[in-house]
C-alpha cells in the first residue's frame, strides 16, 4: 500500500485512472454501487441459462467516442 503511494507508481497515473473510472459512472448517471447490483442480477440471469458456468464476468461503463456504453463481457462455457 505504502509502496503504491510512494513507490514507482506516479501518483498522477493513479489519479488519472481513478478519474476516468469515476467520470464514466458520473456521465452514465450510475453509482458504482448500483453497477455491482446490476452485475449481480446479470449473473443470476446468466446462471439460469448456463447453469454450469462460473466464468469471469466483467461489466463496466466505457466511453466510446462521445457516448457512454455499458460493456458486459460474459464468457459462456460451451462444455
Amino acid at each position: 500500500m505504502l509502496r503504491n503511494l510512494f513507490g514507482r507508481n506516479k501518483s498522477k497515473d493513479q489519479l488519472k485512472e481513478r478519474l476516468k473510472l469515476v467520470l464514466s459512472y458520473d456521465r452514465a448517471k450510475l453509482s458504482p454501487g448500483s453497477m455491482e447490483e446490476l452485475k449481480g442480477e446479470l449473473l443470476t440471469v446468466i446462471k439460469k441459462y448456463f447453469p454450469s458456468d462460473d466464468g469471469d464476468y466483467d461489466v463496466k461503463v466505457e466511453q466510446q467516442g462521445d457516448r457512454m456504453v455499458l460493456v458486459a463481457n460474459l464468457p459462456v462455457n460451451a462444455s
Binding site: K10, S11, K12, L15, L19, D26
Partner: protein, 270 residues
Amino acid sequence: MNAKAIVVTSGKGGVGKTTTTANVGAALARLGEKVCVIDTDVGLRNLDVVMGLEGRVVYDLIDVFEGRCKLRQAIIRDKRVDTLHLLATSQTRDKSALSEERMRETVRALLEDEGFDRVLIDSPAGIESGFQTAASAASGALVVVNPEVSSVRDADRIIGLLEAREIPEVRLIINRLRPEMVKRGDMLEVDDVLEILGVKLIGIVPEDERILISTNIGSPASLEEGGPKVAAGAAFRDIARRIRGEDVAYPSFEQPKGIFAGLRRVFGAG
C-alpha cells in the same frame, strides 16, 4: 472566440474563477476591447474587491434587475484602464433575486445599447440556479480547472451542463499548475486533463504567489506593467489574446530550464 458574452465557471469553488474573470477582463480591456465583467455570485460579492473597485459600488446587478437604477448607473468604470468596467452583484440579497430572463436582457443591453465588445460573467460555484443564471446569457464559456481530483470531476459535470445548454464555445483554463510537481509525476499534466475532459484548451496558468499579492492590493496581475513580470499575469494576457483569435504559443512547463525556471531566477536576483 466568437462569443461576446462568456461565462467563467468551474463547478468547484476556490479554483480561481473570480481571479480569472478579473485578469482576463483586464487583459482584454488593455488590448482595446470595451469590456464589462459581471459578478453573479449574489450574497458573496468578491469581484469588486479582487479588482480593487469595492469603494465605488453604489448600485448592483440586482438593483438593475429590479429597476432601482438604470443599467448605466450600475456600471463602474475602472480608472486604470478606461475600457474596463465592472457590474457588481448584491451582497445583501440571495440567489432567488436572480432571473435568467433579466440576465439575458442585461447582457443584451450591454452589448447592443451600451456598446460593449465583450462581457465576462463570473459564475458562482455550484451547479444550481446561480450558475444556471450566469450561463443563461452566455454563448461561450471558460471552464477553470485545477489539476486535482475534485476540481477535474466538478469541471466534467459543468462541461456536461454547458453542453446541455448548447453553449457553442466551451474552452478550458488549467489554473494553478505546478510545473515541478508535474515533473515529479505528482500532478496531472496538461495532456492528461485534456484527455479526461475532452475540451479545447485556451490557457495554462502556473501557480504564482504574486496572484495573491495582486489581489491583496486589488490590482489584477495582468495589468502589471513595468514591475516584475508575473508568470500568471502573462498567462492571463495570453488567454485574452487567444480569445481574440490570436495564435499564441504555450510556454513549455516541463523543461527544467524552461521559461518559469528562468523567471524564478529573475525573481531571486531582484
